[in-house]
Structure formats: C-alpha cells, structure tokens
C-alpha cells in the first residue's frame, strides 16, 4: 500500500491516490437489528462525498462508525492506507476525523470563541484552576474563521442570538479548528434556508479545496447534494445501492436509486 504521506498531500483530487478513509464490508448489528450489511465507503482528500438514502438506510450508523461513536460488528477500516481500530470519538479525533452532528452541540449562552474552544481552551495556570487565555483563543478563532471566509462573524455575541446558518458555520469552524483531515457532517442543511444552505455548500467546498476529505449526510438531494458534492453514495437497507459522480446524474436518478425504483440508473462499479 502507499505510505502515510500521500494522505497529507494537499489537493489530492485523483481517485487513484490512496483514500484517506476506506471502510469496507462494514456490518453493524443492534441486537437482532442488522443496520449495516456489508456497507463500504471511501473518502478521498479534497473530495466531498454525499451519503444519501431513505430513512433508516443506515447513513447515520455508517458515519457514527466512521467517527468512533459506534463500533462496527465486523468490517475493515483503513486510515491513510493502514488498518486502524477506532474505539471512541477521541480515537477518531486523534487521527484527524471530526464530526459535526445535526444538533450542532453548541452552547447558546456562550459566544463563538467560547464555543469553538469548548473543552479545549488555551489556558494558563491561575488562581482556582486554569485561567483561560482569552486573547490567544480569540486570535486563533479569527484566523480559522477568516480562513473559512467567515471573518465577519461576531466573536462576542452569544451564538443563541445568531441565525441557523451562522450557528452551522460555527459548528463547522469548531470541527476544523484543530486541522483535521476528514470532516463528517450529518444533515448540515436540514434546518437552513435555501441561501444559507448554499453558503454551507460553498464553505464545504472551500474546505475540500484545502485538502480535507468531507462526508455529508443529506436528504436535500435536489438542491444541496447535486450541486455541492463530488460523489454521491446511495445506501439502501444497510448496503451500498449505487454510486454516482455528481455531475453525471440528476436528482431524480439519485432518488430512484434511494428507493430502489429504477435499477437501470445504477452506475456503481
């Protein structure tokens, strides 16, 4: 297999390069419920992969396995070409895999800087526990936000007073604060207006252009998925049903593959 450094190279667009993440033949059972039945997924650097499927198809389960929130019952998981065992979200974070959950997990009473650093504040010693180095946090926050071209987000307003799109952006900014290699987003546009969803799409694109691998779970096929992603992986009943290059398909074709209505458009393989 290729060596580790390949994954670190920026702007690796070629499908030929070793994927950042390669999950193969993943099974996941919840008791007697067989949620994943041999599902596979590759994530390449610089690429936005959409994971779509009907309700209960296993998308969330798949990304949770990827993020270490669930353990697969069986299957192979390679990171940068090497088999890894991910037992917890912390393991995944350590490898450079970050997740933005649908509920965003923000504290509405805290400002953007506090949310970005929550749990990982830059601190110095002080009276009664560690004292937060607010200034340094703020500088780093500004730097990350301007890299995402979100420089005009207020750093001092509680995020509860911000719009859904701004909150989504802060959650994404938090996931890239510690320079991950892969960012997983579960339903990032579910609660957003059309234009806010478009902006999230742009943001995701910029991250991919910086060399990150992005996985997006989304139900918003017609607007978001067919416009903002590079590859579409369709899941059905816990397994892969189809795989498309985004430019090659229409929303209808994707939806057909999701519900299994028209096997003819299945371009997988």
């Amino acid at each position: 297999m290729t060596d580790m450094s390949v994954g670190r190279e920026r702007h690796v667009q070629a499908q030929g390069a070793a994927p950042l993440i390669s999950m193969r033949n993943i099974h996941k059972k919840f008791g007697s419920l067989h949620a994943l039945r041999g599902a596979s997924l590759d994530v390449h650097a610089g690429e936005v992969v959409a994971l779509v499927g009907d309700n209960g198809a296993g998308k969330s389960t798949m990304v949770k396995v990827m993020a270490g929130a669930h353990m697969a019952t069986s299957g192979e998981y390679d990171f940068e070409g090497k088999p890894v065992k991910i037992n917890s979200p912390t393991d995944a974070n350590a490898l450079g895999i970050q997740t933005v959950y649908q509920d965003l997990a923000l504290c509405s009473n805290l400002d953007a800087v506090q949310n970005l650093f929550l749990g990982r504040e830059l601190t110095g010693s002080g009276l009664f526990g560690r004292r937060i180095k607010r200034a340094e946090c703020e500088v780093k926050a500004r730097e990350v936000l301007s890299r995402m071209r979100l420089g005009n987000l207020s750093l001092t307003r509680p995020v509860g007073a911000m719009s859904g799109g701004q909150r989504q952006n802060i959650a994404i900014a938090r996931s890239i604060l510690w320079t991950p290699k892969v960012v997983i987003l579960d339903e990032p546009t579910a609660a957003l207006s059309h234009s806010a969803a478009e902006q999230v799409g742009d943001l995701i694109r910029r991250l991919a252009d910086q060399g990150l691998g992005i996985v997006v779970v989304s139900h918003d096929i017609h607007n978001f998925v067919v416009n903002a992603t590079d590859r579409i992986e369709v899941m059905r009943l816990g397994a892969n049903a189809a795989s498309f290059r985004t430019g090659d398909v229409t929303g209808e074709q994707v939806v057909n593959a999701m519900v299994g209505g028209n096997e003819g458009v299945n371009l997988a393989g």
Partner: protein, 401 residues
C-alpha cells in the same frame, strides 16, 4: 455570490439598546429598581439614608447575599439545592457543639464546618448525577434529614451560646479609619491588576484594545463605587468584617466565573450538558464542584449567622424547613438575574438581589410595617423582577442567556 457576502470586511456593528439590555446592561433594571426602593424609603423615613442605617442594611443583607452567591453556582449548572439552609444550620450547630463541648479551637472548628458543608453538598451532587434523582427531590429530602440532625445535635436547652468563644466577635469587628481606606486601595488595586493583565495580553496577542473602555473606565467606576461605599461605612463604624468577607467572596466568585475554565464550564453545562459532555467536559465533576461550593459557602454563612446571633439553636439555618432564609436566598439570586433554567447569571446578582431583599426588610421595618407585609412585598418583588426580565426579553427579541 454567497462568497462575496461572507468575505465582506467586518462591519463595525452598532449595538442596539435591546442587545445592550440583553447583555452588558442586564443588571440595569434591577439597579433602577433598587434606587427606586431607596428613594421611596428615604421619603418615608428620615433615618433610612443615614450612614448608620445603610451600614446596618448591608450587614443585614450579608447572610442572604452569601447564601445566594453559593446557590448561584448550583443554579448555573441547571440544578437546585434546597438543602443549603439546612446545611447552614446543621454545620453551625456542629461547629458550636465541638467548640462548646469538646473545646475545639474556633480556628479549627470553622474550617471544619465549611468542609462539612462542602462534603454534604458534594454528596447530594453524587446522588443527583449517579442515581439520576432530580436535585429538587434529593436536596428537599436531605434538607429535612439535616434539620432532624440539627435538632439531635442540640442540647436539652436547644441552644449553644457562643459568648466568650471569640466567634461572637466576627460580627462585631469593624475595620475603621485608615484600615478601611487600605482595604479599599487593595481591592481596587487587585481589580486594576486583573483588568490590566487582560488588556496587556490582548495587546500582546495583536488584538486592538481600547484602553479607555477596557481599563480606565472599569477601574474608575470600581474606585468611585468603592469610595462611596467605604465613605458611608466609615461615617458609621467602618467596614464590618462580615461585609468585607462578602466583598471578598464576590470578588473571588466573579474571577472564577469570568476568567477560569471551571467558570466557563459551569455556564456550558447549565446550557447544554450534552454538548459539554461531547466536548470532553466532565459534567458530573463540574456539577459536584458546584454543589460543594454551595454547601461550603452555606456553612460559612452559617458561621456568620451564628456570630450575629451570639449562638446557635433551632432557629439556625432559618429553622425547620429552612424558613425565610432558604426562600430569600434563592429569591435573591433570581431577583439578581440568575436563571432557574441554568447557564445565566453574573456574580453581582448575589449582591443586588440580597440588597433588594435587605432594603425591603430594613425599610418596611423603619416604617413600622409588620413582618407579614414584608413577606408579601418580597414575594411580589420576586415575581415582578422575573417578569420585567421576561418582558425585556420579549420586547427586544433578545433571548436571555
């Protein structure tokens, strides 16, 4: 298109009145209310605005204020501790018992009482977080149990006198003359150091720091406020030691809440404990610390109360059920702006809330109004304060955080 919008240069945002009210000036309505109360009582009684009475008012407000300060930590993490008054009572009786019966040195007995209070608090937190019983229930039951324990600890006379133990002096000591000014100077200096260190670190980090707004104005305001308070107190007997203790606790509490990681985690846990947990914050430990602080601080308030009443008895800790002490302590925190729903409130809430309650009590007393009326007025004020808060929230569309 969207890029053009998002990459626009940062706007210099003008903050609306609503936003100011919702954040920096959150305390304004309560300050206005307090001033209104003072004007009202000043018109009703010639004595009200005398140095002697204002001094008394402050002293009368300290026990409730300190209790409110402790409870605040628990309210911030979206829990409640209904046993704080009972902790106050039982630890002070315990302290008096070991001093009077076992001859333990007060210098040992007082820290022991505070530790015991913190221990009781952390035990109820453990019960809440590990067994999953709501804190409301755990601390309600615990409070009653502690009331029982308090009665058991008391001797047949139902009272321990602390006369002659030295403890009674805590409530009698006043720092007067130059000492008072020295205390003020130290306080202002400490505050200025903190503010300045913050501003320096911002400048060092390359952030623009308006010296005037970030350093000079706050320090000047603190100095003027301190000057007024110390002048009034000095015109009577000086700074009462227990008021100084309250002041120090306010300073420490403000520092912990605003500057430390622990303080931030209190707000995070109270607002969204699941998000806090996923961020790697040990939610159970934060809650336990909050309860321990409330318990320890309640015990300290118990020591001060015991000193003021020259002893302990059934009445300590507000009597069985916590009496008005429990209700007034929670009310003070809430009137001051601490949310019962977690994650909101600043340290000045304890001071302002306790002053409102203390003012009503003191003023009505001067007017010769019966105690019954005092309770009714305090109760209505609580509802009014929270209502005004809600109305501001509605009118400005700013959610309160």
């Amino acid at each position: 298109m969207a890029e053009a919008i998002t990459s626009a240069p940062p706007l210099v945002r003008r903050r609306s009145i609503g936003e100011l009210l919702a954040r920096d000036l959150r305390a304004l309505p309560i300050v206005i209310g307090l001033v209104a109360l003072w004007i009202f009582f000043a018109t009703q009684s010639d004595v009200f605005l005398t140095a002697r009475n204002l001094s008394n008012l402050l002293v009368q407000s300290t026990v409730v204020g300190i209790m409110a300060l402790g409870i605040m930590f628990v309210l911030l993490v979206k829990e409640i501790d209904l046993s704080v008054a009972a902790i106050n009572g039982v630890t002070s009786v315990f302290m008096a018992k070991i001093i009077v019966e076992a001859g333990v040195n007060p210098w040992v007995a007082v820290p022991l009482a505070i530790l015991l209070g913190a221990l009781i608090g952390s035990l109820s937190a453990r019960w809440v977080t590990y067994v999953g019983v709501p804190s409301f229930v755990v601390t309600l039951g615990l409070g009653l149990a502690l009331n029982g324990l308090q009665l058991i600890l008391l001797p047949a006379t139902a009272r321990y006198s602390l006369n002659g133990t030295g403890l009674e002096k805590i409530a009698l000591i006043n720092i007067s003359g130059n000492g008072a000014w020295l205390v003020l100077a130290i306080g202002v200096l400490a505050f200025a150091t903190l503010v300045l260190s913050e501003a320096t670190s911002r400048t060092k980090a390359g952030l623009e720091t308006p010296m005037m707004r970030a350093v000079i104005l706050p320090v000047a305001a603190a100095a003027v406020f301190g000057l007024i308070v110390v002048s009034i107190l000095s015109a009577h007997k000086g700074i009462p030691l227990i008021v100084l203790i309250f002041g120090i606790l306010l300073g420490l509490g403000g520092y912990v809440l605003k500057q430390t990681q622990f303080g931030l985690y209190l707000y995070a846990v109270g607002n969204n404990d699941e998000a806090a947990r996923r961020s790697g914050i040990k939610v159970h430990q934060i809650k336990m610390a909050a309860f321990a602080i409330a318990g320890g601080v309640a015990a300290l308030a118990g020591v001060i109360a015991a000193s003021r009443t020259l002893g302990v008895g059934v009445f300590s800790g507000g009597g069985v059920g916590g009496g008005t002490l429990l209700l007034e302590s929670i009310a003070a925190a809430v009137i001051g702006g601490v949310s019962l729903f977690g994650g909101r409130g600043s340290i000045h809430a304890a001071l302002l809330g306790a002053l409102v309650i203390g003012t009503v009590s003191n003023g009505l007393n001067l007017m010769g109004v019966e105690n019954e009326i005092r309770l009714i007025v305090t109760g209505l004020l609580l509802v009014l304060a929270v209502s005004i808060d809600k109305l501001i929230e509605k009118a400005t569309g700013q959610q309160s955080f």
